[in-house]
Symmetry: C2
Subunit: 107 residues, 2 copies
Amino acid sequence: MFGDLMGMMGKLKETQQKIEETKKRLDTITVSEESADKLLSITMTANRELKSLEINDELLQDKEQLEDYLVLHINKAIEQATKINEAELGAVAKEGMPNIPGMDMFK
Amino acid sequence: MFGDLMGMMGKLKETQQKIEETKKRLDTITVSEESADKLLSITMTANRELKSLEINDELLQDKEQLEDYLVLHINKAIEQATKINEAELGAVAKEGMPNIPGMDMFK
């Protein structure tokens, strides 16, 4: 079921390298999040690094609304980035794992 | 080296369950991030969910400074949260993996 041990070790090393490459590639993928009224826009990499945040002057008039907007839309951006991050890294990790029915560690 | 297959499968199932438990626990751990001048404070869970964000009125006078502060300190909060997240989940995953010298997939 596992093939020979040396082959498995080679495969794991290969997977490890692919994970590092994928992490680098995720830095170049960005997600955009904008409030429906377009008063706040955010861009974030798929590694969850906030790259830019633009606040419309109108939002500065009401601090509570601004804080609520920020929490809501930053969380949405993080969620989007995390989905891409986990899908990409999960695919690489899964490829490198032995296939055991009923196991799904990287979902 | 791997012991018997049934034992390994049992261990993987156990690890999978521990990962789910750890993810839930990470929701209850929060990190705090504050600018040195205390004009901005942020709390975030170790699952990288922004819980609160408090902006001092003074920051509303200068939108560019506000945007810069937000990008800087939100990224610092995400970084702190990610460190805890990876340390906790990594420890569980590592415990559940066969020990192969030179392999460190979950660092």
